[in-house]
C-alpha cells in the first residue's frame, strides 16, 4: 500500500487515489502539424528506473489532481504539489 501525501489532506492511503499518467508530458501546441511531435507525445515514454513525476487524482478525498515524485524501484515518495499550482 502506497501512502501518498496530499498537499490538502495530508498522508492518505493509495486506495483513495486514482493514478493519472507520466507528468513530464506536455501536449504540443494545437497548431503543431508535425506528426512526429504528436507521435512522441501520444506514444513515447521515458519510463525511468528511479525517480518518476506522475499525476494522481485524490478522487475519494479533496478531488484535486496532484503531482507526485516517486521512485519506481523502491516506491519511495519524495513529495507532492497541487497540479494547478505547478502548471500556473
Amino acid at each position: 500500500m502506497l501512502r501518498i501525501p496530499c498537499p490538502v489532506c495530508g498522508l492518505r492511503d493509495e486506495t483513495e487515489f486514482t493514478y493519472g499518467a507520466d507528468a513530464t508530458l506536455r501536449r504540443p501546441d494545437m497548431e503543431e502539424t508535425d506528426p512526429g511531435v504528436w507521435h512522441d507525445y501520444v506514444f513515447i515514454r521515458d519510463n525511468p528506473q528511479g525517480r518518476h513525476k506522475e499525476y494522481w487524482h485524490h478522487v475519494s478525498g479533496c478531488r484535486q489532481w496532484i503531482l507526485v515524485e516517486r521512485d519506481t524501484l523502491t516506491h519511495e515518495i519524495f513529495g507532492s504539489s497541487l497540479v494547478r499550482e505547478v502548471a500556473a
Partner: protein
C-alpha cells in the same frame, strides 16, 4: 548430453538418481559471438534455440543477469491460448499454439502442456456479443472457438456462482478447447537445454550494462563479466526494455508495470479448466499440485519493483470470491509479482531497431508466456534473414508512427489499460 527417456529414468532410479549429468554447460563468455541475446527468459532462450536449429547459427550466447527463468517466465500464471482477433495477432498466436502441441517432443523436455480448455464467462448480452464476434474471427481463421449458453456453462463449470445473489449473473461463456496451461520453469529449462545441445553458450550472472559502439553502430555489449562483441545484439529483457534501449539512446512506446499472481493451499481437483471472470479482470486455474493459481489486474502505476501491493491483492480476492464463493475460506500460500513491458497498444515489438546492430523482442505485456515458441521462432528468423517472418511482420516499432496500432482490447494509447 544424454537424451531423457523412460529408460534413462529407470536407469538413474536404480542408481539412486546420483549420476544425472548437468542439463546445460556453464561456459565462460567468449570474446565474440555472431549473435548475443540479452535476457535468459523464455523468449531469449527460444530465440537461441531456433537460431541454432532452424538457421544453423550456433555461435550464439544468451546473457542473463540472474538465473534462467527468474524473470516473468518463472512468475506467470502459465495460460496458453490463441484467442486473438486483430490482424497480426491472430496468426502469430496460432503459430505459437501449434508449436506448443509438439514442444515436449521437440525439446525432449516435458513442458507439461495441458490442453484443459479456456472459458471466459460473460455477464451481459452485450459482453456476449463482443465475445461472439471474437469467436467468429477465430473460426474464420481456422482456430477453435466455442460459444456456450448459460445451461451448458453451468454443466461444465458447476463450481461458479449461478445464484440470484451473484454479484454479476452468468449469461454464458466463450471457450477455446485447445487452450490450457504449461509448466513455466520447464519451458525455460527445456529451451536452455536444447539450445545448449546445439552449441549455444548460456551465461548466467552476467548483466549487460551498456553497448560497445563503432561510431554509430552497436558491435557488442559491456557486461559485468567483461566486454563481449557481437554482429547482432538482440534484447529479450521483458520489463527492462526501456531501460536498455535508453542506453542506446532510444525512447520507446512502453511503460513498465507490475502484475501479481497468487497460489492457494492445495485442494483436491476442483477447477478443471482455465476460467476467466468477465465481471472484473480475474482468472483462475488449478496446478497439478492442487493449488489454485489466481491472477488479476496490474497494480496500476509505473513500477519496476518485483512485488505487488495489498490493494490489488484485496481486489483480486474479491473477484475470486464473487465468481466462486466456495473458495472463500482458502488460505493463500504465496504471492509474487513481475515487472512487465506494457506497450501503448498492448501488442509486442519484434524487429530491427533504428540503430545498426540492435534488435528487439519486447513489449509482451501480460501475454507473453504463450507467445514463447512463436516469438523465438520468428525473432530467430528475423535475426537470421534480416527481415521479419510473415507471422511477426506487423509487430514493428514503426506501427505507432504510421497509425497501425494493434489494439486488441480497444483501450487506446494507455499502457495500463491493456
Amino acid at each position: 548430453m544424454s537424451q531423457y527417456s523412460v529408460l534413462s529414468i529407470l536407469r538413474h532410479g536404480l542408481t539412486g538418481n546420483k549420476h544425472w549429468p548437468r542439463a546445460w554447460r556453464d561456459p565462460a563468455p567468449k570474446p565474440s559471438y555472431d549473435v548475443v541475446i540479452v535476457g535468459g527468459g523464455g523468449h531469449g532462450l527460444a530465440t537461441a534455440y531456433y537460431l541454432a536449429k532452424e538457421h544453423g547459427i550456433r555461435n550464439v550466447a544468451v546473457l542473463e543477469k540472474g538465473w534462467l527463468g527468474g524473470g516473468n517466465t518463472g512468475r506467470n500464471t502459465t495460460i496458453v491460448r490463441s484467442n486473438y482477433m486483430m490482424p497480426g495477432n491472430t496468426i502469430f498466436y496460432e503459430r505459437s499454439m501449434q508449436l506448443w502441441g509438439n514442444l515436449s517432443q521437440e525439446l525432449n523436455y516435458n513442458v507439461m502442456m495441458s490442453r484443459r480448455g479456456y472459458y471466459f464467462v460473460f455477464h451481459s448480452p452485450g459482453q456476449g456479443e463482443v465475445l461472439r464476434r471474437r469467436a467468429n474471427v477465430m473460426r474464420a481463421n481456422g482456430i477453435d472457438a466455442e460459444f456456450l449458453d448459460r445451461a451448458e456453462t453451468m454443466r461444465r463449470l458447476p463450481m461458479l456462482d449461478y445464484s440470484a445473489t451473484a454479484r454479476f449473473p452468468i449469461y454464458g461463456s466463450f471457450s477455446q478447447p485447445r487452450a490450457g496451461t504449461a509448466r513455466h520453469d520447464a519451458v525455460a529449462w527445456g529451451f536452455a537445454r536444447a539450445a545448449d545441445k546445439q552449441g549455444v553458450d548460456i551465461i548466467q550472472q552476467c548483466e549487460v550494462m551498456g553497448y560497445i559502439w563503432d561510431k554509430d553502430k552497436i558491435v557488442g555489449v559491456e557486461t559485468t563479466r567483461g566486454p563481449i562483441r557481437a554482429n547482432k545484439v538482440a534484447l529479450a529483457v521483458a520489463g527492462h526494455t526501456s531501460h536498455l534501449a535508453a542506453k542506446a539512446g532510444l525512447r520507446l512506446p512502453i511503460e513498465t508495470h507490475v502484475l501479481q499472481a497468487y497460489v492457494t493451499e492445495p485442494l483436491k481437483p476442483l477447477v478443471d479448466h482455465v476460467i476467466i471472470y468477465g465481471g472484473a479482470h480475474f482468472y483462475i486455474s488449478q496446478s497439478d499440485k492442487g493449488g489454485l493459481v489466481l491472477g488479476g489486474d496490474l497494480d496500476g502505476f509505473n513500477s519496476y519493483a518485483q512485488r505487488g501491493g495489498l490493494p490489488t491483492v484485496e481486489h483480486t480476492l474479491q473477484s475470486a470470491k464473487a465468481l466462486m464463493p466456495s473458495i472463500s475460506r482458502l488460505r493463500l500460500l504465496r504471492q509474487w509479482a513481475g515487472a512487465m513491458d506494457m506497450t501503448m497498444d498492448g501488442s509486442p515489438i519484434i524487429g530491427k531497431m533504428p540503430i545498426e546492430g540492435l534488435w528487439l523482442n519486447g513489449g509482451w505485456c501480460y501475454g507473453g508466456f504463450k507467445a514463447i515458441p512463436a516469438s523465438g521462432y520468428c525473432f530467430a528468423w528475423t535475426l537470421a534473414k534480416g527481415e521479419p517472418h510473415p507471422d511477426n511482420a506487423e509487430f514493428t516499432l514503426q506501427r505507432f508512427e504510421r497509425g497501425y496500432q494493434i489494439d486488441e482490447s480497444g483501450a487506446g494509447p494507455d499502457p495500463k489499460a491493456h
